[in-house]
Symmetry: C4
Subunit: 194 residues, 4 copies
């Protein structure tokens, strides 16, 4: 019951976030193809953020599927994650409208990093509620992938001022790593249910 | 479980898309009926896109109703479909504000085509997860209607520069074909459940 | 299953509509109370539409609660209703920003009337799917309240050009009539479940 | 059934409200960090409102979890609460854009107060539907925390014109009090289910 409503609320917020980002694709004046050209960076940053929010929805989905209990701490850890994700439309729009300049890129990376940390906290809160012997705890384990992502985002912040392209390559690269859904949970779950 | 959350998320995104399009109907200055006149093309493109999103919701609903299992690939194929649908408010607004000019009409058709292809991919991903002997595979079959729609959208792209009205007639015509819900699935399902 | 997803989608659209209307309450320049004054008509029209959408959600909720089957026709009748409701933010904003002038008031009344007719069609589609002996058919019956509302909205259209205040009084009056949830269905249902 | 749809609708509205507030963080011109500076008060008021809406979602969730029946009165009491919450984006934006000036701060406090009162009414409506001996009635009891909050908001209104900082401290302080989920209900529930 608790879990179902937590999922429904998170799905709602994620669905809205992934959709209102498109409002920053302002409809251009002029009917020529050239009128779309200035929108290209905004569009590219939109695609990147769409993929990231899709990844978060996917992993959130898998993690909560493995969870059985939801404590008060989990509710707040989840809201904390949603808070950082809610800043995606803003940082995506700012980065896109400034053609991936240094400061907006670093801010984008900061929000990615904070969301990554918030996801890690949520995983800890869920494990704390489930117990260390739970399926979820085994499935998540040390969460190496999550920790490495946060470290890479952190590295991208100074890089945005030194080697901009490398910082952006990190954002794209980490997204590609995560495009594969969290197999760890899928691997453990069937064993348990056998 | 997995399926329920996939449906809930898709419904959320579709509900938001179908609703935020109305935000491009900017409230006009002036209180006379004549103040509404310039909005007419925007309104017409809104109606067309509302019907298309309604069709997608309807068919998505029917297809997933027949599905039993949701794989990781299905989750991503679904997000891919939602991505193209998320561009509807943008292309609808651009086409409407430029009175159905050639380039915006062609872009609208491109997004329709990409969404059609994404829907086809989603159907394949579902069949791959369900097996070729599943109800779903039988119900969808060769998906002639879907393939013809995509071909017609593709034909509409060059037509938008040669014979604009014909391109628009294709969009309206394909919508009318789809207004009938996917009887194939309804036809097969009862046999199975008997 | 079908019904659950229809309700979820309708709830989503209604929740978004009732919420995005507030975006037409543009944040005023200036920090004095006087800066809010020009917003008063927009606020009042917002309250009226909030109540109307609340009524639709409430009655939609009651009607579908009594329904058991959802046909393809019902899905489209429901989308048709949602289409007219989706125009609420636009007509509400236009009426509010023009201080309840004649033409915007008449347009607001037209959308109310079309939504009323669409609701009536949805009720017929549901009864057709359920059968004339169904609880729903008995509960809705001749739907005198719905028919009278549509007639009153229709009467308000010419009145908006002759006696503006009377037209607005009709909108408020009909809302008050509907504030009471549909007791007919509540009255019949317990009998059946006894 | 009734309860499930009430929760779904409320979750939808709350998810949208908590998300569209971010649209008032207008993307700034300029790519320097200094371009973000004028947004700081808007951001701070966004954080405060995000926390408040999170609290409302959390408590609403707990309260309805303990409820068993939903009457027509409850539906309307719930819509009444959602109405005041729907004004959050507006008052949050106005307060933020005017750097927490007196009148916008007082208006923000008024909406907080009205939402607090609406929540109290909803609790009474639920208790009326459940009966005085119900778990919910015992769990909520005299609702001292809710009453004190409303009194503090009321005190903040005149304070906003005399000692602005104290009024804002009240908003933050009350939020902190509520950050802890409603233990009363959690405390009672297990006893009952034992």
């Amino acid at each position: 019951m608790h879990k179902a409503r937590l999922e429904a609320f998170s799905d709602g917020v994620l669905a809205i976030l992934i959709t209102i980002m498109v409002l920053d694709l302002h409809i251009p004046r002029g009917e020529q193809l050239s009128a779309l050209l200035p929108l290209l960076p905004v569009f590219l940053s939109y695609v990147l953020s769409f993929v990231y929010l899709g990844i978060y929805w996917n992993n959130h989905h898998h993690m909560l599927h493995a969870a059985r209990r939801v404590s008060g701490g989990v509710l707040w850890a989840n809201l904390h994650l949603l808070f950082w994700l809610s800043l995606f439309p803003f940082v995506t729009g700012w980065m896109g409208e400034n053609c991936f300049a240094s400061v907006p890129t670093a801010l984008y990376g900061s929000v990615l990093m904070m969301a990554g940390i918030a996801y890690w906290i949520l995983a800890r809160a869920l494990i704390a509620a489930e117990g260390k012997q739970s399926i979820l705890a085994q499935a998540i384990g040390a969460d190496r992938k999550g920790v490495i992502s946060v470290v890479l985002y952190a590295a991208a912040l100074p890089l945005a001022f030194v080697h901009l392209l490398l910082a952006q390559a990190i954002f794209v690269g980490v997204a590609l790593i995560w495009l594969v859904p969290d197999r760890r949970i899928e691997r453990i779950l069937p064993r348990e249910t056998d």
